[in-house]
Structures are given as C-alpha cells and as structure tokens.
Symmetry: C2
Subunit: 384 residues, 2 copies
C-alpha cells in the first residue's frame, strides 16, 4: 500500500491517500500555543509525566465526549501516539492468535494491520448505506461470540457512511447480551457535512465494554501525532500498563500545546473553516464523479474524505488500478480494506488533500481509465 502511494510519476494525481488538507493546518495558532507552553509552564512540566496524558488535555477531550452524551471523566482518557497506537494498545491487551474479531468490511486498513500482527481471525459483518447492519451484528455475535467488534461509526473509512444513533444503541445492547467488547473509531466526527455527528456508541454503554478511540491527525494536523482512548474499569488499567510498556507517555510538549490550542477561540474557527473546505471538496468530487464516471454508483460521503467506488464484478481491482495508473491517477485498491483481504473489486478515492481542479482532473482520468476496459469487455449492459 505504501509502495503504491509512493509510486507517483511526474504529473500523476494521487487520490490514493486519505490525508488531510495542509491548507487547514492551524500552524500559526499552534505556534502561539507552543510558545505559551514553553513560556508559561514551569520547566518541570517538560519532565517525565503521567502515562495517561496531560491532565488538562484529558479534561478537554473528556469534555468533548461529554458534550456528545458520553459520561466521560478526564481519568477515563489515555492520550496516545495517534489512533494507531490506541489500536495497538487494545490489541496488546485484548487479542492474540486465538481471538475472533468481528469487523465491518470494508474498513480502515491501518487498524486491520494492527490486528493482523496478532494473528486474529476475522468475521465480517455486513453493512448498508447507514453503516453496519444491526441484524448482521446479531447474527455474528450469536454465532461466533467474538472477543472484539471493531466499527467506524463516523466517517466510515472507506465508505463515508455515518451510523445512526439508533443503530449504535442497538449494537451496544447486543454487545452486552453476547458479552462482546467494542472498539469504535470516532475519527472524523468533526467532519460530518450535513448534520451534526450522532452520539458515539460509548454514550449507550453501561458496563465499560465500549472503548472509543479518535485520531486528532485528521482534524488538527498529522505531525502532532496525538490520538486518545476512552476506556473505563479493568480494561482501562490494563491499557495504562500497556501504554507504559509501549512508550511510557506521549510528548508533553505537543500535548500541552494542543490543550492550549483547543482551549482558545482559534479551535472553533479552525473547525468551522476546515469543515467548510472539506464540504466544498466533497460536493465538487461527487459532481465530478457524476460527470466523468457516470456508471458509478457511489454514495456521497456524509463525513470524511473518502468515496468508495464499487467496480462491476467482471473487472478486477488490479486491472482497474493499473488502468488508472496508466492514465496518471493513483487510487487505493480495495483489498487492504477487507479484513480477510478478499472481497468484491473496488477502489477508494480520496479528495481531502488536493484542491478542487486537481481532484476534478483526477476523477476525469479515473473515468477515462475505466471506460475503455469496460467497453472492451462489453459490459455496457451492466453499466448505467
């Protein structure tokens, strides 16, 4: 996957990486926050610190969850080196090669890589336009009794679906009935375009079985390398031990500066302006697909920066990828998003990190690339 994203040639456009837009990075405001941190905090603040995170940043993060219906306290937060470390700590504490993990499919490949490294066994749960299907969650929970259910309720990566609160509540009730732990990735909740983000699954949790993680890389900027876990009870204690083993604590300098930034009026401005920028890009991207790839049945994403392009079953993902590369556009093939690495042909197209004209040209190239192979295979009947 990394090789693919690196395999650019001059003039190629990449729709392959779901990266945020550098134009949104609040670097000036963040610089002021770093400056105040180094000026106002005593030197002792830059000493070894708590493994679970800076107290004031944890308070801020817990406050954001509370505002969304979760009874979160700052002591329930563990600040991590990105959501990747959050997933890795969960895997360290909960999973081994005997574990069964239930997962949406397709889903975020970064987390799958972490689970893969533990040699887990996957069971896939079916989804529709509103995310994971409750009836299929019940089927999988009752049949396989998985150790963990992994779900992206917001800005589902790669489909952009948003799970309604009603489903979230039902899923948590099923997890309780069948004694399944749940890991929800709330990354992207600040980037819902058409309505505010529904409550996290954790809002419906009564017995500490839902763990929430979020990356702040997308909503602030990646170089921060900060994410967090929300967890309670025995699992929270085990996660703290795992955090100490992994790297003791996350940079206090970035944590303190992040807290100051989030505590300033600049944060709300940043959220508004980046949401507006991504919404415009989303609209233009969906338009471009309607224009240049008219046969595609893509769902406009309700959140996030990705579009999932299902391919007719007679085209292989590899053939589509190669055709796109020949036209000068890089796309992400479907396989890394399938827990078992096997699934119907498809591509993930990302629009967050490039300007609208470039994205539009990228989509034009995708359309050009995928027109020929399909026509030559006389698939016109299938393609609307």
């Amino acid at each position: 996957m990394e090789q693919l994203t690196r395999a650019t040639h001059p003039g190629a456009i990449s729709l392959a990486t779901g990266h945020p837009a550098p134009e949104t990075f609040p670097l000036q405001d963040f610089g002021r926050a770093v400056h105040r941190t180094l000026l106002d905090d005593p030197p002792e603040a830059m000493q070894y610190r708590s493994s679970t995170g800076d107290a004031e940043l944890c308070e801020t993060l817990a406050g954001l969850l509370s505002g969304r219906g979760v009874r979160a306290q700052s002591s329930d937060i563990i600040v991590c080196s990105g959501a990747q470390q959050a997933a890795d700590l969960i895997a360290t504490v909960l999973l081994d090669e005997r574990s069964v993990v239930a997962s949406e499919s397709p889903t975020y490949s970064g987390t799958l890589g972490v689970f893969d490294a533990r040699g887990v066994n996957y069971v896939e749960v079916r989804s529709d336009a509103d995310g994971v299907r409750v009836d299929d969650v019940e089927r999988v929970f009752s049949e396989y009794r998985p150790r963990l259910f992994y779900v992206n309720p917001i800005a589902q990566n790669p489909t952009g679906a948003v799970l309604p609160a009603r489903r979230a509540k039902q899923i948590v009730a099923l997890a309780r009935r069948y004694d399944v732990m749940v890991l929800e990735d709330q990354t992207g909740w600040q980037l819902t375009y058409d309505a505010s983000a529904p409550a996290p699954l954790a809002a419906f949790d009564t017995d500490g079985r839902v763990i929430t993680m979020e990356s702040l890389s997308k909503s602030i900027f990646p170089a921060l390398r900060i994410g967090y876990l929300y967890a309670r009870g025995a699992i929270a204690e085990a996660l703290e031990v795992a955090k100490v083993r992994a790297d003791v604590f996350t940079s206090t300098l970035t944590q303190r500066a992040l807290w100051r930034f989030m505590d300033s009026p600049a944060y709300a401005r940043h959220r508004r302006s980046s949401r507006a920028l991504y919404r415009d890009r989303r609209d233009a991207f969906v338009d471009a697909i309607a224009t240049y790839v008219p046969w595609a049945q893509v769902r406009p994403p309700a959140a996030g920066v990705n579009v999932w392009l299902a391919l007719p079953s007679r085209i292989s993902t590899q053939a589509a990828f190669d055709a796109c590369a020949r036209e000068g556009v890089l796309v992400m093939p479907a396989e890394p998003f399938y827990p078992t690495r096997v699934g119907p042909p498809g591509l993930r197209l990302s629009f967050g990190h490039i300007d609208i004209p470039t994205a539009r040209e990228g989509v034009r190239r995708v359309g050009a690339a995928l027109r020929d192979p399909m026509e030559s295979r006389e698939l016109d009947g299938i393609i609307r």
Copy 2:
C-alpha cells in the same frame, strides 16, 4: 515502582527517580527551533511523514554516531517515541516467551519491563567496576546461546559504570562467534564526566548484529519523547514494519524542532552546561555519601545520575527502604533492576534532578536511616 516514586509526603526528598534536571532544559532555544519549524517549513511538512523519521534529524543522529566510530548512515536510523519504544520494537521483532535474553544485573528496569511483557527467560551476566565481564559474557553465550544480549555500556543504570572500548570490541567478537544479537543502550553517552565516551559496541560490528538505542529525554528534555534505534539489514526492515504497526511515525513537529536545535550553536552550549551541572552534582553527592554513609562502598559514577548502594546482606532492601522513608527520603529498591527480580539487597540513589543542598540533606537522611538498623543488628564488624 511508580507507586513508590509517587508516595511522597511533605518535606520528603526523593532520590528515587533518575530524572534529568529541569534547570538544564533548553526551553528558550527549543522554543525558537519550534518557531522556525512552523515558520520556515511548508505546511506539507506537518502532513503524514516517513515512519523511520525526519530525514534531516536522522542525518544528524547518524552523524553523531559516525563521530564515535560507527559507520552509520541516516537510513540506518529509526526515530522512536523514546528509548522505551525502541526497546519495545526490538522485543516485538526478536523476542517471545521461548527467548533467552542475557543481561547485566542490575540493569535498567524500564527495558526489563518491556522484555518481561514477552515472557522471556533471563540469564544474568556478571559485572565489575568496568561494567560487564568479558569472561562471563563468553560463559553465558556458550552455555545458553541467548537470542539477545542487553547491555548499558555507558552510564550503566543503575551503577554508573562505563564499559571500556576494549571490552566492547571483545563482546562483539563473542556475539559474532556465538551468533547472538546485541542491544546496547547508549543513553547518557553525553554525560561522561571524566573522559569522553568510549566507542559504542556498534563501532565493532561487522554483520549487523548490534542494535544501538538512545533516549534523548535525559540529554535534552523528557517532554520531547524522542529516542532512536540504529540498526542495519533485515532486522532494520523488520523494525520499520513494527514501527508502522506501533504508531506509524513519531511527531514530526518535535522531530523537526529537535533537528533545528541540534543543528544550532545552542546545542553545544547546552551539552557543556548540563555536563558541568551534573558533574558538580555527582562530586557533591559522592562527597555526601562519604560523609554521611561512611560504611558504604559506592563507586563514583563515571557517567549518568545514579549511584548504586550495595547493602550488607543481613539488611533486606525492604527494611532499608522503609527506614529511609521514615527518615523522609525516598530511594529506589534494588529488585526492579534485577532481571529475575531477585538479587542482593541494595538501593539506587539518584542525584540528577535536585540541587546540591537538597541532595546532601537526602544523603544525610539515608545515613541516619541506615545507621540504626545496622547498629541494632550489630553489623559494625562488617561495615567499614
């Protein structure tokens, strides 16, 4: 151990944590480096970046190793979230519950915690005033054929010993003969007091079996949370995969600012002044021990911020710890530093993080605490 260090009461002095001195933290100069980073680097620099580290920081770190006789290139460096993560990545790649790890004893407890989590089996190697003994390394290598040999050649934690280059060279030759991987922790090489630091073991490595790690927490400041690994060949590739799984990459903001700081004249000034400060503290601490704990046979540390106080065998570590706590001084008990958690009674006393009068008073209390129990047990004959 953490509970111990937290268990302070008003007026208590802690000699229990080997933390650096906040007075040495170059926060003003580092603030300028952060400012220049956010000002001079394009926003794209704060995007997702290379998993192995910022290219310019890797160049600087490789350059420091090269200056010490290691043929290091920037591509041999993996920047980590502290040396703790470095050790954790090594353990992920090399160790499991069937592994035999040869180790000095006593040694750094943080790394032992990482190895413990993999359920490894330890074999201890004997040391003397110059660090690990070559004859005992050969005995252990030939008898047990360990997977890994872990050693602190510089500023040995907890003893402060420095391994002479001659021994380092012989140990690497033995590792080659018996096919053992070596992990050396070079943390503290900038804090040798009486001579410059000898060459790392990696300087004598011919076939990529020596991995070097270093924490910059002690020599710059902990809140940075930056350390690195130096490794070559197949093991380096496996470590990069493990780094991606663990947290993808380390904060580029702190990496870029660290590079700018290390690239400026402020870095040499910082090294000189912190070395002078710690040397003064070391001298005063050793003096205080001679005054207040005259029976103790401690070796003045040649590097680092720790003194190892071996106790007469009839006093338990626990009794000594309790007596010190009653006198209002916190010390670190010996057991966490023994790979098997079993060994002769002893205490680690650290002087880096407190001023000289406080440290002196702390040592006075240690002397007062340990005088009574020993006299009451009529150990005067043993104590010189």
